[in-house]
Symmetry: D2
Subunit: 492 residues, 4 copies
Amino acid sequence: MRERLASPPAPEILQYLYGPRLAEQRVTLFSPMMMVNQAHVVMLARQGIIDRAAAVKLLREIRALEASGPDGMEWNAALEDVHLNIEAQLIARLGPEVGGRMHTARSRNDLYATVNRIYVRERLLGAAEQLLALRGQMLDLASAHAETIMTGYTHMQPAQPITFGHYLSGVAAGLEREDGRMAAAYASANRSPMGACALAGTSFPIDRALVADLLGFDGVLTNTLDAVATRDYVGDALYALAMAGTVLSRCATDLHHWCSFEYGFVELSDAAAGTSSIMPQKKNPMPLEHTKAKAAHLVGALVSAMGCWKTTPYAHGREVSTESVQVAGDAFTQVAAACALMACSLRGLKVNGERMRAALDRNFAVATDFADALVQEGGLPFRTAHQVVAAAVRKRAERGDAGLNADAVLAAMREMGLSTKLPAERLTLLASPEEAVRRRAHPGGPAPEEVRRMVGQQQEVLEAHRQAWAGRRGRLDEASERLEQAVSGFVG
Amino acid sequence: MRERLASPPAPEILQYLYGPRLAEQRVTLFSPMMMVNQAHVVMLARQGIIDRAAAVKLLREIRALEASGPDGMEWNAALEDVHLNIEAQLIARLGPEVGGRMHTARSRNDLYATVNRIYVRERLLGAAEQLLALRGQMLDLASAHAETIMTGYTHMQPAQPITFGHYLSGVAAGLEREDGRMAAAYASANRSPMGACALAGTSFPIDRALVADLLGFDGVLTNTLDAVATRDYVGDALYALAMAGTVLSRCATDLHHWCSFEYGFVELSDAAAGTSSIMPQKKNPMPLEHTKAKAAHLVGALVSAMGCWKTTPYAHGREVSTESVQVAGDAFTQVAAACALMACSLRGLKVNGERMRAALDRNFAVATDFADALVQEGGLPFRTAHQVVAAAVRKRAERGDAGLNADAVLAAMREMGLSTKLPAERLTLLASPEEAVRRRAHPGGPAPEEVRRMVGQQQEVLEAHRQAWAGRRGRLDEASERLEQAVSGFVG
Amino acid sequence: MRERLASPPAPEILQYLYGPRLAEQRVTLFSPMMMVNQAHVVMLARQGIIDRAAAVKLLREIRALEASGPDGMEWNAALEDVHLNIEAQLIARLGPEVGGRMHTARSRNDLYATVNRIYVRERLLGAAEQLLALRGQMLDLASAHAETIMTGYTHMQPAQPITFGHYLSGVAAGLEREDGRMAAAYASANRSPMGACALAGTSFPIDRALVADLLGFDGVLTNTLDAVATRDYVGDALYALAMAGTVLSRCATDLHHWCSFEYGFVELSDAAAGTSSIMPQKKNPMPLEHTKAKAAHLVGALVSAMGCWKTTPYAHGREVSTESVQVAGDAFTQVAAACALMACSLRGLKVNGERMRAALDRNFAVATDFADALVQEGGLPFRTAHQVVAAAVRKRAERGDAGLNADAVLAAMREMGLSTKLPAERLTLLASPEEAVRRRAHPGGPAPEEVRRMVGQQQEVLEAHRQAWAGRRGRLDEASERLEQAVSGFVG
Amino acid sequence: MRERLASPPAPEILQYLYGPRLAEQRVTLFSPMMMVNQAHVVMLARQGIIDRAAAVKLLREIRALEASGPDGMEWNAALEDVHLNIEAQLIARLGPEVGGRMHTARSRNDLYATVNRIYVRERLLGAAEQLLALRGQMLDLASAHAETIMTGYTHMQPAQPITFGHYLSGVAAGLEREDGRMAAAYASANRSPMGACALAGTSFPIDRALVADLLGFDGVLTNTLDAVATRDYVGDALYALAMAGTVLSRCATDLHHWCSFEYGFVELSDAAAGTSSIMPQKKNPMPLEHTKAKAAHLVGALVSAMGCWKTTPYAHGREVSTESVQVAGDAFTQVAAACALMACSLRGLKVNGERMRAALDRNFAVATDFADALVQEGGLPFRTAHQVVAAAVRKRAERGDAGLNADAVLAAMREMGLSTKLPAERLTLLASPEEAVRRRAHPGGPAPEEVRRMVGQQQEVLEAHRQAWAGRRGRLDEASERLEQAVSGFVG
């Protein structure tokens, strides 16, 4: 391979490039490499590019290597990479005449472009499944808490009564859209560069569609230059992960507030909490903090990959082919951690419904309902009703009084020279958190019946998404079966 | 509005928040705001939430304001924002009893969530159309240069012969996938938050679907908390733009190299170039440099928006509702610039086909073809052929000889004790750039006939994408017509 | 200027490059440009590169242009930029023979490199002064609240008693280190590229040090290639700003929590708060939310600038010279906003010391002090004391009891079969928040006396920093005076 | 430690938090932890907080653990972290009465804050030393090539003649400023948080200055809250690394261009190059590509860390203490790789001076010198001279003629109706690359004598920087010696 050059690689090349890359890729890329090697040899033989006998020998040895796994062979960084190590093994076992033929009509450029896609699609499947499970967990919790009334916040200030189920359904809606990003990233990743060779295809009569089919790809990346030049699917994946991280981080932020001493709305299970080495009272909601941080790392990973591409030729090169892809592995692990930590935080979460409800008697989150009642049944224009209630709130807040009530509102009216026939009891009822929530029953509102309906619909969508991902995995399994049979056609 | 508070806004609030935001939004959001105001009042009247007479008065004044445009009214930063200024105008003209009713059953939270989506979808349409036009321009150029043979590069080193058309088709393939991101961002943006009110919907009997329909949205963002809490469509848009920026930056990088004195493959038109104030010979390809930089700004915009969301409650708040959205405007302008600068660079681009072809006589990009010929017709195993040609290249490179030829290759064979019956002339032919390109005719390869076929296919997809975007614009126009008629039903 | 080219700039160039850049730079760079023009002409005349008569004419017209300001002249985007517009004015007024001489022995490359540094150093001065003022405000508040006992948090859970003054002194310590970054950025910016010309200097006998001195620079950027190739000072500035943003964002995060209904520790003045259009009770701490978002934009700006540099030749080019610098203006404005919004939030902040103190009776933040007392005066090993208190806390938490007391701790000891001679009253005293704070009097601790000492020391450092920045400004004023006198030596 | 909680950590906590963190930190933090443990115990004993006998036992066992290294003990992720594992070992060996005392008057919060600083300062030292060596290598090469004339570029177009030495000195100037960032980051990192405990210090009579001194810190981070809340030194380090990455990336970009077939100015040694598996001619400059990519990763790391801080309380928490620091290790490795790969690229770099010089006969980079000569000795005003030469260049470029000469320039003059007494030979001489370079001898110019002077000065600064870093390392060694003696005072 280095006949062109008069000397072996410099020590820095081994230490910083070949060494670490080989150490990582023999774990991550060994299995995809074996798949591609088999599919490629099958194609070469079917197209008559290599003869059947050679194909049989090659496939036997590839299978043997695959069976003994990455720990079953010696790896040598001086041989550069996973492919060249494997090729060297095959040549050692079969001689150059046969062993050297596996790499006909392909290049490391299309080879690595392909195995990296196989690796990424597998991790996308895993991440998507974790996200589906977490969404299911949230929707179940939402359903269970469709009637658990709590304060809804804007700007982190009490705003209006909602339910905990309504909140969770809202976060789940964010995750539902996230599934679209994951599916788009999968579709983007799942196309085959094989046959692009170095960049210009080959003069051998290859069958690109066959290789793609045996490897479970949805199709071929047609233009051969584009096929080795682009890694845009990595961007699609990293962006999807970063957005997943954002939704989880925002939910973790809320739970982090709500499990504080001051809110006391929820409490993590003891299994999900950490303690302090010196403060005996401590029960720290670590998983929530880590979840938030993961979102930062995922943005960093996206920046890192996009930085590798930005001012790079539309062509194969190391910034694109190696470096930009390298960040994906860790990014998937960060997302897996975020999902697992959220799952663990939600599992066994103690929801203190009484405390949630009690807060509404002390904060002013029903103020809008007082105003709305004055409009709807009290005959006031909205802007006036708003002024009345604002005055009542301001007076109570200045006196340090907790909560709002009909008396305070009616007193404020009187002070402004206004009157209403709406009885105090009716006003009290209309502006109660229970009624406030119950009456917001239009699509998407917090009324328990609507939350249940909406969650039901979300669960249907979730089920559809589950089946879609199962379908993706199923098609990979079928392709794997086709490859298995095709190889068996040679090696029996 | 500030009855709750005892003092007007601090000067810093006016200087840094209300002032600049109003200055920007009266330009960007005036028109969307007028659309939403009309659709909302129509719905309020149809649902009986306000009476017809009030609706008629409101719609007349809204239309009058709309007709005189943003410069037709006074704006006051102390009133905070575009909506409150408009509401103040309506109240001044119609009195609080009528003017104050427009804002019934909604909140600024869902209002701004909505108008920002209208603004972003409009800019997405514009950006998508610019990208379609640029892709068309590239494909036309690709078609025209299907036979313009040039060196293909990997690692910025000569690799194999391709054609300039093949290159351009490759970049266009990247832009074709980009259309998917733009379409996904549009679908993500084009859902209506109206009816979510502050976060919890409303106790008024609103019709969310009607408002969404009159505004041209594809549907309603159901969960009311989610509707005001999420700006994920901004992420989808910014990511799509950043990836567009990346593709354009990479293409600009290539053209920047190729229009250098040393390559001399292409030359920008004089209209696209800049000069120097002191170096008389200068013809600087500025648009290419700026295009590359735009990609950096687009990544920065994405980081900025995602940073606003990361550790923010899943709820309405300023980081999400205002700050994260603010970066979008400039990002769209950056993309518009990148597209325009690339269009201007490609328009009138002089392609020096002779120089492109001549380079192949001096560099060693046909080496693979010599090796392939030795395998295919010379009977050598691939690895051996590779060694032979590598040795020939090394010898010539060390002597400073330009290009590779059959004599050099055959001499290298002899030195390695090998022989072949393949005649020198046949070898010369097979390894000529023309033949090398011609023989790579499988799907996606650089053979002129295949490039033409592939570009034809890409043009079909382009046409389908054009129609899809025309459909999106058409549906907005139809909705606009529906709104127009609905309003006319009141105001005649 | 475009003699080299056969056509005027394309419309896209005018619309996206020359137009917007000129619109911005005539505001930001007019004054720096006039300074540099004068200093350069003085140098040219002193070195005999142009004759005195020409210098006199040039300086008179430059002064006249300067006096009438940027709005006093016509600007033409077809002339590209601020410099070429000004040069065209001078040539129009003085003829090419004299007007054309100003640009001798320089280039737009060193010229813009220089005026941008003048612009950035001015904004750095402004930002540094705002940060100094804000730090002073924090330290004053810290001093006033040296005895205001509050809960200190880790992981957003009650940890140990501190004081509000201790907290504010901690944040001010972060801002103190920030001053070092600002000062480093200023030193980095304040070196003169003039004389570098296009990249290679000039064959005219220039005096680079003189120009640098007249412009207030601390010295010359020696290597002429480096002088036009680097914008690293912009990175230094943007990084400093981003870190300032981070400190302010973190402080805003705390205040945002503490002004929530649930904490109720502080309350923003009414002047600093916003209201809601539909929720009458609302008092929203908007400035804190915007402050947090500014930090996101500042990271975005840094990413944007660094992206412009990453894969760019070490040479002059548009990505570096224009695009990477363009983000700085907005970044300075974001920081100015963050400082102003924090200043406005702290001004008139109501600190509810009673509520802060009362929380310590309900949470378990004194647990460590119970444990420490058991070790220090109760004879228990630390790990055992920790276990005792943890058991007491757990028991009370499970029963929903608020706060910890000596009885509970001693009961837990007894249950674990342990005993102590430490009397309950003594234990109560030692573990009181007041005593807990008082006893932490070592350097940096929360004891009021130590907080006062530490804040005093911080105020001394602040004063030293103030003088350092005043010195920087003073040196610019002196240089301005030197330039004034030098010019007067020509024009009287 | 988990007495406060009723259950062991959830499996997700072990899998995603404790497990991976322990695996990493037992490698990176074991040694710093042992240093801190010794210094802390010495201080506790000297202050009488623990008795001498306990100190002796603790120090003996700590030394024993240290001697057997991280592989000498069992690690248990269920115990959470490195510290708790070590403490458990000590308690197992010495009993709780003695083993439990090591952690008196400190917390994991200040402990980890401290050991992370020790780790980062060590890596900063390593990175700084690598950067010094690389700068030295560049300056040596600059000195050797002070007379190697080459084309200087702006906008990647030939601009003016410089020398390769001038170029390298320019890049080295960028690295010289970089040393300031590294030194600032080191100073920022090298302050001791010990004694801050959880956040509020301690009621034990500790001596913070002593611990800081024994650990080689330059001083104490005074405010105890700030001490555990800030990780700004990580930002300082990551920013410095990212800027180092940027300079190296830009230099790599130039070398990447110049080692292309088309430029052919330089050639990497064979040891630094890679080959292709199918293209026999390939000699790929991989190290340059990887160097460029590293800069992207370093920006990503900075974004990641800053994202962890942005909206986090100014307090101890996992986002800050653990997650934001975690990215530093990999970032240092990326920089080490970039430095090593650049060192390896420069080592044995073949500089083709003839080809560099020959390019100047074909491109138009001497145009400015023709114009300057017409001004300086030909009596033309600058703007006219610029027009003459531009016209000459344009004519030759349109005819495809290479290079510029006196005849072409004089012909252009005549065509414009101008004349000069400057003889053609004199013009030819003045505009020769040799003369052009020689005459630019002012400070920073490319004249060989000036390049040698400038490089000499840069080498002096380099030597001063070397000594400064040696001083930093020396002070750590001295502290290490003081700690050694202090411990020996107990254990003999």
